[in-house]
């Protein structure tokens, strides 16, 4: 069976330890976590986790079933089974001596990214997009010297009125 990337959204009770329960389950059962993001959901007391994972169909089915066994898990949806929007944010601190800046700003512009801080010899670029876009941005900035990189991992939703 083929292994593919999946984006799973997990609605959970906002209880202490719930992140540990979910991430512990992935670790213990040998499921892969590429990224995990957590934040409040539309409903008070519930949080939404978005987990990017890889696996074949069986693994994905087990991930969902095992997650449902956790008492604090309310709903699990495989977003990637539907048309979805996935976004990630990255902050990239890149070397930028004044003479290099126009070149870098050119890249920032093309990617519709933003410069959010300028220092004497570096700038911080903020980029939002799907993971591929951020990968591409990082690759383009790498030659200038990346000092620090921080990515949020993907958050995602199904488009329009599906479900």
């Amino acid at each position: 069976m083929t292994t593919t990337k999946h984006t799973v959204s997990v609605l959970v009770n906002n209880q202490p330890g719930v992140l540990q329960r979910v991430s512990g389950l992935f670790g213990r059962r040998g499921f892969n976590i590429e990224s995990i993001t957590v934040g409040e959901s539309e409903e008070l007391g519930l949080s939404r986790m978005v987990i990017v994972t890889t696996g074949d169909d069986n693994t994905l089915e087990q991930i969902s079933k095992q997650l449902y066994k956790l008492i604090d898990v309310i709903k699990v949806v495989d977003l990637s089974a539907n048309p979805m929007v996935a976004r990630e944010l990255a902050l990239i601190k890149v070397n930028a001596e004044p003479i290099m800046r126009p070149e870098i700003l050119g890249i920032v512009e093309t990617f519709r990214a933003a410069v959010v801080d300028i220092g004497p010899a570096s700038i911080i670029v903020q980029v939002v997009g799907d993971s591929d876009k951020i990968d591409a941005m990082v690759e383009l900035l790498r030659p200038y010297g990346i000092r620090e990189l921080s990515r949020t991992g993907a958050t995602a939703m199904i488009r329009g009125s599906v479900r």
Binding site: N13, G17, G24, K65, I71, V73, I74
Partner: protein, 581 residues
């Protein structure tokens, strides 16, 4: 206190008293809530963090509290109580070392889906996270081995949490639930408001099956020529034994019972094939290997049953799986007909439709195998063989006793040679295989079944892991019959070293074990010894005639092995038949 303690009050009086909206401490809320859940016996061990709780128990006699000599004894006792009664087992331990001493018992219960409510104390809320004296993050430590857990931060949450914990522990796929109560929470006072309903969003175990799936199963049975049922612990836990027997009588499908399923189907039934797997019968394993339809009922295709999955049931055309836990379906084995639901409910519905399979030739073949390849051992008049001891216990108790076992060869012999009649009459650690479980679990089973004979079958190794609990048998006159199959070695390890590690016997010699008769006597318990068959019969009869607890040391030769045996990595077709080959 005695096992036969009668309740001090009528149920109505008690409930009237318990549900008053009084201003009481968290500790008193705990005790009242436990009583409202119907708890009649808890096992525990005090310490600083639970002193308010123990203080509330001073002079309290609405339920029994048994002071074990080790927290491990307490949790295995609670486990034996739960498995043998179907009620939730309860134990209490203090924070830190008390709580961590429970870990093996929690994992044991988790692996075998046993409903427990485990109450631990913790340091006061304002000390949590400071590495305070006797602090341990027990909810964190036990997260992978509990069905759910709570760290109580507000005394007002206690009634709800306790009620939820009992509900979660004993519904759906059962399991242990931990409630960690900080010391200040157990001391704080509030107005007690009992909670009687429960609604946990996202927790709604499926009880009733999808009828279309069960109809598919019925159809598959009609088309099958060589159907086989593997029945597991789920049959016992959902009290579905009667429904299973009816299902088998209607469909005439032969049944293999796993270790945990053994008591769920009577050994005397003509369509019983024995236990499958590593030490399963020739008939059960061969039936599975030749089956065209396999129906797992409350059994999870554990690797001790399937052995090497690559060669498991090679001729099967259809696999049906009945389980209350959807995550078990397809976990190890690809399933064609999934039936999610409570085993009792699924079988009850299936029984309204079930008709006989067309498999008389198949049944005849299996019956023939049962005759040709029975379980046997080299019995002699001169030697006392462990299998003989189990057979003797089986015959004299007429299958009516509750048997608890420890882990090792004796466990497999008990599984092979005891003839089970009634559900919940075998209490054994299957999933985790926990040595030290056998004896304390018998104490719990006896507390839950004061009128039944409880026999605990142990090895001379494992019995030493919780032997200290003889004290509570003596003090409370708990009449457990503690059988020790004394082969002077870690027998099961020896067997592996003989068969797989070429007779390299590394660290299995139990020389230095105590004189078990004297050990019993030191605790004030009667001790008996037998080294011949004649002595064995006499000692066992004396044990049965003794009203209180007895330890019987059956000294058997070392070197006897459990057969059939499938070596790890082999398929269940590759049975070593040993003496019976």
């Amino acid at each position: 206190m005695n096992v036969q303690t009668e309740p001090k009050r009528s149920k109505e009086e008690l409930i009237e008293k318990l549900t008053q909206p009084d201003l009481i401490t968290g500790s008193e809320i705990l005790l009242r809530s436990l009583l409202l859940e119907g708890v009649d016996c808890v096992f525990g061990y005090p310490g600083g963090a639970v002193l308010y709780i123990y203080d509330a128990m001073h002079g309290f006699d609405d339920f029994n509290h048994l002071l074990t000599r080790h927290e491990q004894g307490a949790i295995h006792a609670a486990d034996g109580y739960a498995r043998s009664t179907g009620k939730v087992g309860v134990c209490i331990a203090t924070s830190g070392p008390g709580a961590t001493n429970l870990v093996t018992g929690i994992a044991t219960a988790y692996m075998d889906s046993v409903p427990l409510v485990v109450i631990t104390g913790n340091v006061a809320t304002n000390f949590i996270g400071t590495d305070a004296f006797q602090e341990a993050d027990i909810t964190g430590i036990t997260m992978p081995i509990t069905k759910h857990s709570y760290l109580v931060r507000d005394v007002n949450d206690l009634p709800r949490i306790i009620h939820e914990a009992f509900h979660i522990a004993n519904s759906g796929r059962k399991g242990p639930v931990l409630i960690d109560i900080p010391k200040d929470v157990s001391a704080h006072k509030t107005i007690f408001k009992p909670v009687t309903d429960v609604s946990i969003r996202g927790y709604n175990p499926t009880v009733q099956p999808n009828k279309l799936q069960v109809d598919k199963l019925i159809k598959a049975i009609e088309e099958a020529e060589r159907p086989v049922i593997i029945a597991g612990g789920g049959v016992v836990y959902s009290d579905a034994s009667k429904e299973l027997i009816e299902f088998v009588n209607k469909t005439r499908i032969p049944v293999a019972t796993t270790l945990l399923g053994l008591s769920g189907f009577p050994s005397a039934h003509e369509l019983w094939l024995g236990m499958p797997g590593m030490h399963g019968t020739y008939t059960a394993n061969t039936a599975i290997q030749n089956a065209d339809l396999l129906i797992s009922i409350g059994s999870r295709f554990d690797d001790r049953v399937t052995m090497n999955l690559n060669g498991f049931a090679p001729k099967v055309k259809v696999i049906a799986h009945i389980d209350v836990d959807p995550a078990e379906i397809g976990k190890n084995v690809k399933t064609d007909i999934p039936c999610v639901g409570d085993v009792k409910a699924v079988l009850a519905y299936a029984n309204t439709k079930a008709r006989p399979a067309k498999n008389e030739a198949w049944i005849a073949e299996l019956q023939d195998n049962k005759v040709k390849f029975p379980l046997k051992y080299g019995d002699t008049e001169t030697e006392l063989k462990p299998q003989f001891v189990v057979e003797m216990i089986s015959e004299t108790t007429n299958g009516e006793a509750i048997i608890t076992t420890d882990v090792g060869q004796h466990q497999m012999w008990a599984a092979q040679f005891y003839r089970f009649k009634n559900p919940r009459s075998l209490v054994t650690s299957g999933g985790l295989g926990t040595m030290g479980f056998g004896f304390p679990s018998a104490i719990g089973a006896q507390m839950g079944n004061p009128d039944k004979l409880v026999v605990s079958i142990n090895g001379d190794g494992g019995v030493q892991m919780c032997a200290q609990e003889l004290a509570i048998c003596a003090i409370n006159n708990i009449p457990v019959k503690v059988v020790i199959i004394n082969n002077q070695v870690l027998g099961m390890v020896r067997q592996w070293q003989e068969i797989i590690y070429e007779n390299r016997y590394s660290h299995i010699d139990l020389a230095g074990s105590p004189d078990f008769v004297k050990l019993a006597e030191a605790y004030g318990v009667k001790g008996l010894r037998a080294t011949t068959k004649e002595e064995a019969r006499r000692a066992w009869q004396e044990a049965l005639d003794t009203p209180g607890p007895v330890v019987i040391d059956f000294v058997v030769p070392k070197g006897e092995n459990v057969f059939p045996m499938v070596k790890a990595g082999d398929t269940i077709s590759d049975m070593l038949m040993g003496d019976s080959e």
